[in-house]
Amino acid sequence: MLESVLVANRGEIARRIIATARRLGIRSVAVYSEADADLPFVREADQAVLIGPPPPAQSYLHSAAVLAAAHQSGARAVHPGYGFLSENADFARRVLAEGLIWVGPPPDAIGQMGDKINARNLMQRAGVPVAMGSTDPVTDASQALAEAERIGYPVMVKAAAGGGGIGMSAATGPEELQTAFETARTRAERFFGSPAILLERFLERARHVEVQIMGGSDGQVVALGERDCSVQRRHQKVAEETPSPGVSPQLRGALLAAAVRAGETVGYRGAGTVEFLLDVRKQEFVFLEMNTRLQVEHPVTELVTGIDLVEQQFLVASGEPVSFDPARTAPDGHALEFRVYAEDPVRFLPSPGAITEWEEPAGPGIRVDAGYEAGNTVTPFYDPLLAKLCVHGPTRDEALGRAREAVAAFRVAGPKTNLPLHADLLASEEFISGDYDTSVVAGLRS
């Protein structure tokens, strides 16, 4: 097992990784920006190194500063969490070149999946279904129009170099396409440093379903069930659950097999997530993208499988076998996650500020992964995720009941939060029925 690990991240995920490191006797090193000095993850690590001012480019995305902190602290491994440097293949290569252990997949797998067009092409060749879409980067508006004609409207326009819903929008005709293309191109350039655009056939009634995979150090890729991530605002996830209420056993078998094939195609090691869009009417799915890292919503999988995914990442990174039996990973009960964001619950606009009150729900079947506590200040420099409220129950109905109580018991004062949205979601017939798609939040707010 690893002796020590530097956690190149912040907030709830840094804290969560540090907790598993502590349980396993691995010395943890946190890195933090000037904005985060008072957050719990800094205090809870065995050692903490200040790496720069608040803007991400000068701290959490500053690879030289992160590597210098690793050397200075004597950390033997680097865990990137999600976001920031986690899907930067060059950073992973530098970590390895400097003699450190990279707690993540091989850099080439990150690179192959990071280019979304390359990933689509690879998957198609491997027999994983993909939507009609671009096989080459689209770089100007006239090319985009021609591509959209070929694919057929409506189309989704997105950055080829990045995910996370940033700059993504749908177009139902040529006029909307112009706007969507410009939006996607500026965002792509700004957030991912590449203006390349990808067009894909847009599914109108779709569920977003993803599969957790784990590639062992022996090369065996195992699927650990699916997560339904259809509750979204601005193409970003707000709540997730497993198992998906929209997936039949037969469809589940096909999804899990496709995810394993995707992982095997790129020689995947460690934790990864293969995302699919599921056409609700046709009961067919297409590959969306692969996230070559730990996913925000990984706790729901942990709750129903009893597997600590971060522990498995540490094991695989140190060349050891996973600690679970791949033949016995059937889910036990039902789990949901609700992302508590610092944003107003109606327009979803950011709401940074000082936290004057923070009281987490607790009890059987409740897990809260929080990045903050009372007295902390939520700054405008990073994403709005304050905490993940997760619930587990023997059935979906029981889990929903626990969720309602937990949402009502979660008290945050200072920044506005989206907890009222979660209360509305948990009261909505559409969500309760399980028969919902990616439009469910828009429906609640119309």
Partner: protein, 70 residues
């Protein structure tokens, strides 16, 4: 005289309009950025953009004056 103020703590990412511009209701004056989201700040009535009180890279607090329209 209308004052346009910041709704939240944010970084001024882009200044779109120029002092002296004729603006319409709904025109974007500046784009703020907070928590990885871009938030356009719009003119709420037509007029002349008399003064811009922020520059790109500034940090604004909730309630800070961004622009004056006359």
């Amino acid at each position: 005289m209308a004052e346009v103020r910041a709704e939240m703590v944010a970084n001024v990412w882009k200044v779109v309009a120029t002092e002296g511009d004729q603006v319409e209701d709904g025109d974007t004056l500046v784009i703020l950025e907070s928590m990885k989201m871009e938030i356009p700040v719009l003119a709420e009535e037509p007029g002349t953009l008399a003064k811009l009180h922020v520059a790109e890279g500034d940090i604004v607090q909730e309630g800070d004056l961004i622009a004056t329209i006359s």
